[in-house]
């Protein structure tokens, strides 16, 4: 499932919702991305995420669908926020559930690597002086994709 929302989410509650009343899940892997206080600017104060409504959901759904083809997943959830976020708030959540750990681990890493380079989100960071700067792409994110291209 894909959810794009401005509201904060609760990782623990989402895990509980996925595993509730199921006995076929042997492994749950989660990744939570947080707003940290340093990036291109040395002293990041807040982050604002812009996105492309419509295309964002489509891209995330495509990424989820390819993960479900590649790995044996019992369930899969992607939540990505947009709008203004304060330090330490969660930005993105990926949960993968499978019978065995391997599929859940691999699928979660794949989902994040693809999401980073395909989902139309842009980060604007503000520093303590109130200056804002669009975050630049990282070549390491492009490199990370190569792992899945064989």
């Amino acid at each position: 499932m894909v959810i794009v929302q401005a509201e904060i989410f609760d990782t623990g509650a989402e895990i509980a919702r996925i595993t509730a009343s199921r006995t076929d899940i042997g492994a749950v892997v989660t990744f939570t991305g947080l707003v940290r206080d340093f990036n291109d600017s040395a002293d990041v104060q807040s982050l604002t995420l812009e996105h492309y409504p419509g295309m964002t959901e489509r891209e995330l759904e495509k990424i989820e669908a390819s993960a479900r083809v590649k790995w044996d997943l019992q369930d899969c959830l992607i939540i990505h926020r947009f709008g203004k976020m304060e330090l330490a708030e969660p930005i993105v959540l990926v949960i993968t559930a499978s019978k065995h750990r391997h599929d859940a681990f691999e699928a979660a890493a794949f989902l994040m690597d693809w999401l980073k380079t395909k989902a139309p989100f842009w980060k604007l960071e503000a520093d303590t002086e109130g200056n804002t700067d669009w975050v630049k792409e990282r070549s390491s994110d492009q490199e990370a994709l190569k792992r899945w291209q064989d």
Binding site: G33, L49, E50, H51, Y52, G54, M55, R58, E59, H80, I91, V92, M112, L115, K116, T117, K118, A119, P120, F121, W122, K123, L124, W134, V135, K136, E137, D141
Partner: protein, 83 residues
């Protein structure tokens, strides 16, 4: 045709979307970019270095030139930085 701009391209152009009537001789993406550049200094500026501009046509990522036939929405944006 609807044209959308995101992130710093939106800030520079000063609007997030506009609806334009394509001139008859604009039938491909590259022709559209060339034509948009004639519309003012802000457009000239955002399309100066196409290495830092990404394109989606009808919400699908596009690389290289392509026909605009049947397209209703073209979006221009920087490389994505979500996650």
């Amino acid at each position: 045709m609807k044209i959308l701009y995101f992130a710093w391209l939106r800030s520079k152009v000063g609007q997030s979307e506009e609806t334009i009537s394509l001139p008859d001789d604009v039938t491909t993406l590259y022709q559209l970019i060339t034509w948009l550049k004639t519309r003012g200094p802000a457009y000239e500026e955002i399309f100066t270095d196409l290495n830092v501009v990404r394109v989606a046509i009808d919400q699908e990522h596009i690389t290289g030139d392509t026909t605009l036939e049947g397209a209703s929405e073209v979006a221009f944006f920087p490389p994505v930085t979500g996650g």
